[in-house]
Every structure is written in C-alpha cells, then in structure tokens.
Symmetry: C2
C-alpha cells in the first residue's frame, strides 16, 4: 500500500460509527449459546411449536408454483397482498380502517424502526423512550446520532408526569416518543388503559410524534391486551409490528403503518437501504395468513409462554435472595428483575456464565449507563424445568456475591459505561 495507512481505517469512519464497539460482555454471550448454559438472555420465540411439516409444504409450493414472482424482485413498499393481510391483522388488535397504501413492509420490526429514524432524525435530535427500552432501538438511535432521553415506568407502564417532565426538560426539542406500550421489552409491563389516553393527550398537546412498537400485543396471557395507541389516534402515530413473534423471525417480515403523508419517504428510505423486501418471505407470510390456522397458532404460543412465565415467576419466588424484585408480565417474553442493593448485574456476568446461566445485564437497555442493578430474563425459549434450573443457578451466584459483599464490604461503585449500550446486549440469535 505504498506506505499509506490504508490498513488502518480508524480515521476514515463516519462519526456515527466511531463510538460503536462491542464490549467484553458481548463476547461472553457467544459462550451462552452452548447447550450446557441455561440462557435467559435471548428473545427467541419457541419455533418448535410451529407445524413445521405444513409450513414446509406451503413454502415448497410457493417456490415451485409461484417462483416466477416469489423468487423475483418486488416493489419497495411490499406486495399489496401482504399489506392487505397486515391490515386485517391490525384490525384484530383494534386498528380499524387502515389502508394497505399506508403500510410499508420491512425486514422485521428492526428495519421499520430504522426507516423512521432515517426519515426523522438528524444528529443531535432528541428521542424520548421508556427507561429501560428495546436494545435494538438504542442501536438505531445511536446510529442516527440522536440523543435518547429515558422516561420512567412503573407497574402501569410509562409515567405520564415523567413524560411531561422530559418534554419540559428538552424544551420541546424531542422528535418523537418511542414506546412499546404492551408487554414491554425488557420491562414486561403494560401501559394501562387510562394512561394510554393521557400519554396521547400529552403528545398531541406538544405536537410530539409517537412511534408505537407492538411486537408482543397478541401474546397476551390474561384476556386481550389494551388497544394500541394507533387504534385510539391516527394522526401523529406510527405503528410498528412484526411477524417474528406471531409466526417466525427467520423470515424477517415486519411493517410500519404510517400517516399517509410520510409513507412515500419511508419507501424511498427503504429502497436506498435494501432495494425491496424479500418477495419470497412476503409470499410465505401471505400464504401463512391466508391458508393456515394462524390464530390458533397464536393461542398455542400464548399457552406455551404463559406456562413458562408461571414457571419463571414461581422459581423466582422460591429461589431468589431477599431484596430481589421483578415485574409480573401479563404477556410477551420478558421479566425485568432488580437485584438486592450492591449487586452489579454486569460485573456478575462472568460468574453467572461460569455457573452455566445467562441473562442480559440491565445496562444494555439504557443509553445513559443506568441499569447496573437490573437484568432481563426471557421465558419464551426454555422449557419450565430449564427455567427453574436457570433461576437456581442464578440465585446461587447472587447468594455468593452477597456473601462476598458481607465479608469484604461494599465494592467500588460501578463506573458508568462508555460506548454503545447495544454492546452490552447479545446478538439477535441468543436464546
């Protein structure tokens, strides 16, 4: 290379990725996928519950009988057939009268979020989001060089007064509120009926856009979920969802329902990013929704996950050291635990992995380094007895930490993390 430093790319990176690094924590997760480790860390649905033979037959026909279109390029917005089915799915959640023309099909819910960030966020813009929030959203906002300001939650979800305060603090500069109102990831809490109206009113009053992420709304364990925000208000609300939890994440099909004026920008942003979503994956979901008993399948998922949630909660009840608290999710995939004072979930990770149990440290779900005393526990992927065994191992590690602390006194206050929050979270595959 004639003496240049072309093998060193450091000075060439864009500003948006300069701060991106993977942490030592992330390296630990690669160990967590070993079979001897009970992983409470991932967010994978329990795909084995699908009728795989029937799905295989359906996908085979999609290629053999319709390959000339299903294996070809498609349009950037996604097929009209799938967008029509998506409107039907949304109507089951209470979103009535959505037009297929306002739906953009995406590569999972992640790309929906990324498109919204591309269309609305400039460097330095402020985004409001629950604290804690989805780690993938933090990755998107970081890549957009936006600032995330967290809004506190309690057992009823986002606290309206905290939202008003956050808005006041940033002087109206916030671009949007990113929220997962139902069975929140990672907190496992749900925004109550009354608060849904209150949050929408605050946002309307301040002209604040709402980005509602709803991947889990259909995975309710106790009656139906409260209606989405988008079912209550149409203007100013973007609704995102995915088939990753109701069908299969391996196809990567999600969508955004956008106010009409914005839809064209989203499509152009998507074409610049991926040209078009997979025609085959879209055909697969369309066929699945048209020809297979998908609502029954969701009931199967609900029952499997309810049983697992119960197993996890009762194991926590039985085994966790005093001073530990956790949320009680009415749906979804996750429980959020708060450790007894003095424990640091990130510092404890290597010892947990050594004890053959994995979780995601709470710091991964905050942009500001908080969350050191929290962890996210997944219950969708592992069988009830595995969940209990995982909690047993985790409790053992925590007891040891507490004993150490009792002997040696308080350890140094954990330093605030640097670099990206996403660095403390596992890759998408970890289950």
């Amino acid at each position: 290379m004639s003496g240049t430093t072309q093998d060193d790319y450091t000075d060439r990176y864009s500003r948006r990725v300069r701060g991106m690094t993977t942490s030592e924590i992330r390296a630990l997760f690669s160990v967590a996928s070993r079979p001897e480790v009970v992983s409470l860390a991932g967010g994978s649905p329990y795909i084995a519950a699908l009728p795989l033979d029937a799905v295989g037959e359906m996908l085979g026909r999609l290629a053999s009988d319709h390959g000339a279109t299903s294996l070809q390029y498609g349009i950037g917005q996604g097929t009209v057939e799938l967008r029509e089915r998506i409107c039907e799915v949304m109507s089951l959640s209470g979103i009535e009268g959505a037009s297929p023309d306002d739906v953009v099909v995406t590569v999972g819910g992640q790309q929906a979020l990324d498109l919204i960030a591309r269309v609305f966020l400039d460097p330095g813009d402020v985004v409001l989001a629950e604290g804690p929030t989805y780690v993938g959203a933090l990755g998107v906002f970081q890549a957009a060089q936006a600032q995330v300001r967290h809004v506190a939650m309690d057992a009823e979800g986002l606290i309206p007064a905290a939202l008003s305060q956050a808005l006041a603090d940033c002087g109206g500069r916030a671009k949007f509120l990113y929220t997962i109102p139902t069975y929140q990831n990672p907190a496992g809490v749900t925004l109550s009926e009354a608060r849904r109206e209150e949050v929408l009113d605050i946002c309307s009053r301040h002209g604040l856009l709402v980005v509602e992420d709803d991947p889990y709304g259909m995975l309710s364990f106790e009656g139906d979920a409260p209606r989405p925000l988008r079912a209550r208000r149409r203007e100013g609300v973007f609704y995102l969802s995915t088939f990753s939890k109701t069908f299969a994440p391996g196809l990567r099909v999600g969508w955004v329902l956008a106010p009409h004026a914005v839809r064209e920008k989203l499509v152009m942003a998507s074409e610049a990013s991926i040209l078009c979503p997979s025609a085959f994956a879209q055909g697969a979901v369309t066929q699945y929704l048209s020809t297979m008993p998908w609502r029954e399948q969701i009931k199967v998922y609900r029952e499997v996950y309810r049983e697992r949630r119960d197993a996890l909660l009762s194991a926590l009840d039985d085994l966790m050291p005093g001073g530990t608290t956790w949320t009680n999710p009415a749906g979804g995939l996750f429980v959020w635990a708060t450790l007894p004072e003095g424990l640091d979930s990130k510092a404890m990770m290597p010892r947990a992995i050594a004890a053959r149990v994995a979780y995601v440290p709470g710091t991964g779900f905050y942009a500001d380094g908080t969350g050191t005393t929290n962890m996210r526990l997944n219950f969708s992927f592992s069988a009830p007895d595995r969940l209990r065994e995982g909690v047993r191992r985790l409790a053992g590690v925590m007891e040891q930490e507490l004993a150490m602390r009792a002997v040696f006194g308080a350890v140094a206050e954990p330093r605030r993390r640097r670099g990206s929050a996403a660095a403390d979270a596992p890759g998408p595959d970890l289950a």
Copy 2:
C-alpha cells in the same frame, strides 16, 4: 390535534430525506409493468430459467426438516455455513483465500452498499463513481448526504486519467471510489485488464478506498470476466456481490467481503438496521450451493442472456435512427444507448409509454443531471422477439421526435433536474 400541524410532517423530516421526492417519470413506470408494454427498463433476471420444482422441494425441506433454526433468529454477520460457501464462490472468480470471518451477509447487494455508506460517509463527504452508475448506489449516497463526483468511462471502462483528475479536483477529500468494473450497470462496459492495475495503483497512491460492486461478473458471454480488483489487491478494497443474478433476487441475499479491521463495524451497522439477515434465505442459498448444480444454472443464464443481447444488438443495428450509438456488453444485463443530438430521453418517456415501450432515462444514473441523451436498455428479462418489437416501437418514437424537431426546430434546452436522481428510475420490480 389541538390546532398543531401534526398532520404536516414537512418540518420534521431529517435533512437527508428532505430532498427525496419521486418524479412524474417514476409514476410512468407503474404503467410499464402492464403486459402490453415491452419493458426494456428493469433489471430482473429471467427466473423462469430456474428448476423451480427442485428449488421448491429444497425450500420445503429447509422448513420441515430444519425449521427450528431456519425460521429462527440468526447472528448479525450471517451463518458461518453460508459465509464458507460465499468464499468458495469468490474463489471461482479469482479471489483466493478469503476468510469467512471477513464476510458479512446482507439483504442483497443494496444493503452491502448501504452498510459501507453508514460506516464511512458523513454528510458532505465525496464519493467517486463511474458516470453513469448504479441508480441504487446514488440512492445510498444521497441518503448519506454525500456528494457524488462522476468519473468518465469509455469502451474499456473507467478512464484512469479521469480518475486522477477527479482526485485532484476534490483535493484528496474523496472517501472511496465506488466502481462496477465488470459488465457495468448501466453502461454495459468492462474495465480492461491493464486499467484494473492502473486504477488500483492510483487508488493506492492516494490512499483511496475501493468499493468494488460485482453482481454480474459471472454472467459473461465471451470467456471469463477479468479477475476482480479484490483478487488483485486485498487491503483497501471492499468487494460486494449478490445471489440476485446467479440464483434469485427474491431471497435478498448478498454480501460484502471487507478488510478484517472493518468487518465488526459493518456487522454492528447491519444489526442496527435489520437485526440479522433472514436465516431462511441464507439456508436456501446454502442448500442451493451445496446440493444443486448451480454452476450449470449459471451457464443456462449466460446462454439465455447472450442470445437476448444478440437479439437486442441486432435490432438496434437494424432499426435505430442514424446518429444513435450504443455499447456492446460482453456480459451482464444492460446496453447503454446515446440518442441522436437533440433528443431528450426523459422528455420522450411519456410518448414511449404511449407507444408501449419503456426504458430508463439516462438522468437516473447521474447525480448531476446529465444523461438526458442516454437510456438504459435491459435484455435479460424479455424474449428475443419481444426485444426486437420493443426496439421497433422505440425507433418509431424516436423517428417521430426527430421529424418534429426537423419541422419545429430545436426545442428549449432541457432543464437540469432537481431532487433525487433515483426519482427518474423505476422501482426494483420493473421488468
């Protein structure tokens, strides 16, 4: 919305999308997909040449026998199995010894390009690219708020002296050279052997990164293509390709082979954008490469496309008005035509559509409004007799335009376009 203008999003958009609009030209393309229109506009491969029954059987088994992984989340970088196969594919093109660890699987070649833009481009950065160049690359660079400076080509591809001049003109500020050296889209020309070395030398001397896009290299009609730039130099060269032209675009599987130091940034950028590529699509390509006669299939594509290129070229020879010129591609999908003086390919589009023939006006392939006298003609999708009929219709429209011009004199000089170049190009589906 309590009197706010929340239904008007104009003031809220990010700077990167404010200039993005679709043009009236783009609306015309929606008509072009009607069966009575001969479309020379798209870039679709001829999927009907695939053994669809066998592909269907393979995909069916992928879900029924391996669904627990193929329908699940995967890792952001892509499966190691596919990355190994990709290294084998690249070795057939002359890229020896690439490590699967340095390959990142992407959602088609488009996402590969987008990831590179995300990792390297800040607003205002300069990118060098052939003029004309791939319309999807212009969309990526526009979204990254980069400036594109075009480098002229001739029948032997990129002109080295023009590259040196462009580098001098921008005072070394260029971030990289984006190039499609082989069977270029849209120009249909190929960088000669001698110039490959020369271009690499210039880039090395100036410490300029090279982004080599090679979707068409295997679609040669006359002997093998020259070895890729990446086969000649390892450091400072990013190599992008896709299975869209050698297998099927509907699966959206591409890749980038990156210098090792950069690979981690690309993976993180991809996770922020799409979380992970489709496990099912990756499994499909892996199975296709492992169990099916894919090299024989490429020979089939080559033969079909060679016959169609010959049909297009001989129709152009026989039917085009004097003063029209065009390139003579030795592979790939496209011919680039230059109209007789005074004709404007964009202004002519509505009349061409009325005459039931479509093409892409040359302006879509430039960032700076040039290309008004050019058009891109695709020969991969339509049968030889359709191609000839399309050229007949096109020639008729051009003759009429020339006659009008002879009667009424020169029309006003076409104005330089505003807004995005991509606005003058069709969506990805148009064939």
